[in-house]
């Protein structure tokens, strides 16, 4: 079940909250509290825009246990606009020609479930960037995090979910 494990990761999974190193300015995802570039302490939260591009990708035909019903599915290393790489699934790519350099954006989707009574785990996946006419577009520069509507709604979603998780844990504690 691992409920607490998934609850601990909700800010990272639902809102791409990482860290910024106040020493060298490196943007860090996933959070690790020590800057991988300069080894200085880095505990200042940083919210990523969710925009990026495909750095490498693969279609998984033989999935690990727990992911069977999603197969075949596409995984990728995404280079986030702010710098770091993130490992994730690509979604909404049926019929799409995936290429290195393709612009993608973060969405929240089901990652896995554990039978009819188990935990459903949600988290980030990335989809091709959609413009209003519905066809993929290339993003020339990343949008600023604070003005990105998808990002704002995700952040409020994570706030809304937090008390639910904590209440559950307290209940279990008693």
């Amino acid at each position: 079940m691992e409920i607490a494990r998934h609850w601990r990761l909700q800010r990272q999974r639902y809102a791409l909250v990482g860290e910024v190193c106040t020493h060298c300015g490196d943007k860090i995802f996933p959070a690790r509290d020590v800057c991988p570039q300069c080894n200085a302490p880095a505990k200042t939260p940083f919210v990523f825009s969710g925009k990026g591009e495909v750095f490498s990708y693969s279609t998984v035909h033989y999935p690990p246990e727990g992911f069977e019903r999603f197969a075949p599915y596409v995984v990728a290393l995404v280079r986030l606009a702010e710098g770091p790489l993130v490992a994730a699934q690509l979604t909404d790519v049926e019929g799409e020609k995936i290429e290195i350099g393709m612009p993608v954006e973060m969405v929240t989707r089901k990652l896995s479930d554990d039978g009819t009574k188990g935990t459903i785990v949600y988290g980030y996946k990335f989809r091709p960037v959609i413009n209003l006419s519905g066809s993929p577009e290339r993003v020339s520069k990343p949008e600023a995090p604070a003005t990105h509507p998808t990002h704002r709604s995700l952040r409020s979603a994570s706030r809304a979910l937090a008390p639910v998780g904590k209440a559950h844990l307290r209940q279990r504690g008693r």
Partner: protein, 385 residues
């Protein structure tokens, strides 16, 4: 610090051993290594293993195996570093003998993978990567290698079929190895038409899920001749680490820990890559052979893939690799692989490799990777003069 030598080797054939348990396999390998070394006492046993807990419901392998093979009472412990567990255990044995904490040490590697269905083994192997941010997002261990391979092909303009000579070479060399899982040749056509696992990685890019155990006996070089005429000396033993997650790497194709570990080993042995007569590298996937050759100093960045097409990796080539079949065709029982590699080098240096003998082999290198090179142990061995 004392000089250390290998005085005995033992291995089971690698296969789907449905009739043998983890204990049976380890016991067979340890007993045959002890017989080969003609020792009448053992001070310590170190056991390399990755997956006994999750696949066999059995941990605590140190005491388990020691008792099973009649070594009850000795110091014994399991060492885990994913697919690098075998060489990590060897390094612990080396430290014990070199540091004068033990005289006769047995190091074993064992893995029992075929008791479980494929998707459970796939999930277990993914434990070598970052659980929270790779495995939980559905990235299998094969997929991580696929991401590296795709990026390599993109950066250096390489086609998938250019990796075929690595698999063809490994299978060719396995034919004369009685312990190999796949002692048969494959062709470039077989390679190109193999079924896809996680594209561009297909079945013939990949090492198999299998069972096996291997063991070596170590002692100080100064007494090695009293046990055997053909001791194999450990000239260097060096371990290094990198980020466990691919997304945290500063240089995705650079294999930093491979470079660090190899450089440390060359320094210890006062050697360069040009001195090495054969190289048992960690060919869990064809892309790993390429990146290991580059980071270990046998090819420039982006040129490793061409060593195969140029014939440099064949027995008789400039730097023969996977001379007994490698992980691809000999087999890759993950926690045992590091010991199988060292045994393959030892067999070459003893001049016992038969049809696969590298002529006048004096210095051989084995390199075992845990995860995508997050743990790397490089061992340089030398034939007794």
């Amino acid at each position: 610090m004392r000089d250390v030598s290998i005085i005995g080797i033992g291995q089971t054939p690698i296969d789907e051993h449905w009739d043998k348990s983890l204990k049976d396999l380890a016991g067979q390998a340890v007993q045959s290594a002890i017989d080969d070394a003609h020792v009448d006492r053992v001070d310590a046993l170190y056991v390399g293993n990755m997956l006994s807990g999750v696949l066999s419901g059995q941990e605590h392998l140190g005491a388990l195996i020691a008792d099973w093979v009649g070594l009850r009472g000795v110091e014994a412990v399991k060492v885990e570093a994913a697919c690098g567990s075998g060489a990590a255990a060897l390094r612990l044995g080396y430290i014990a003998v070199a540091g004068e904490l033990a005289d006769i040490v047995v190091v074993a590697g064992v893995e029992k993978m075929t008791d479980r269905p494929g998707q459970q083994v796939t999930a277990a192997l993914a434990m070598a990567s970052d659980g929270d941010f790779e495995a939980q997002n559905g990235l299998s261990f094969v997929a991580l290698n696929a991401l590296l391979m795709r990026r390599y092909m993109h950066e250096y303009g390489v086609e998938h079929r250019e990796f075929a000579p690595f698999t063809i070479n490994a299978h060719k060399n396995a034919v004369a190895n009685p312990n190999a899982m796949f002692p048969h040749a494959v062709t470039a056509e077989d390679f190109c038409s193999a079924r896809m696992i996680a594209d561009p990685v297909n079945l013939l890019d990949s090492s198999p899920v299998c069972d096996g155990a291997a063991a070596v006996v170590l002692c100080p070089t100064e007494i090695a001749r009293s046990f055997t005429d053909r001791p194999v000396r450990i000239r260097a033993s060096a371990s290094a680490t990198d980020t466990i997650a691919l997304h945290d790497r500063r240089d995705l194709l650079g294999m930093e820990a491979v470079a660090l570990s190899a450089a440390k080993a060359y320094r210890q042995a006062k050697l360069t890559p040009a001195d090495i007569d054969l190289f048992e590298l960690h060919d869990a996937f064809t892309i790993m052979s390429v990146l290991s050759l580059e980071a270990s100093g046998f090819a420039e960045r982006g040129r490793g893939v061409h060593l195969a097409s140029d014939g440099d990796i064949a027995i008789g080539g400039r730097i023969p690799i996977t001379t007994m079949g490698g992980l691809k065709a000999r087999g890759h029982p993950v926690g045992a692989t590091g010991i199988y590699q060292v045994i393959d080098v030892a067999v070459q240096l003893r001049g016992q490799a038969g049809a696969n003998q590298v002529k006048e082999a004096r210095l051989g290198m084995a390199q075992n990777l845990g995860g995508i090179g997050a743990t790397v142990v490089t061992t340089i061995l030398e034939a007794a003069s």
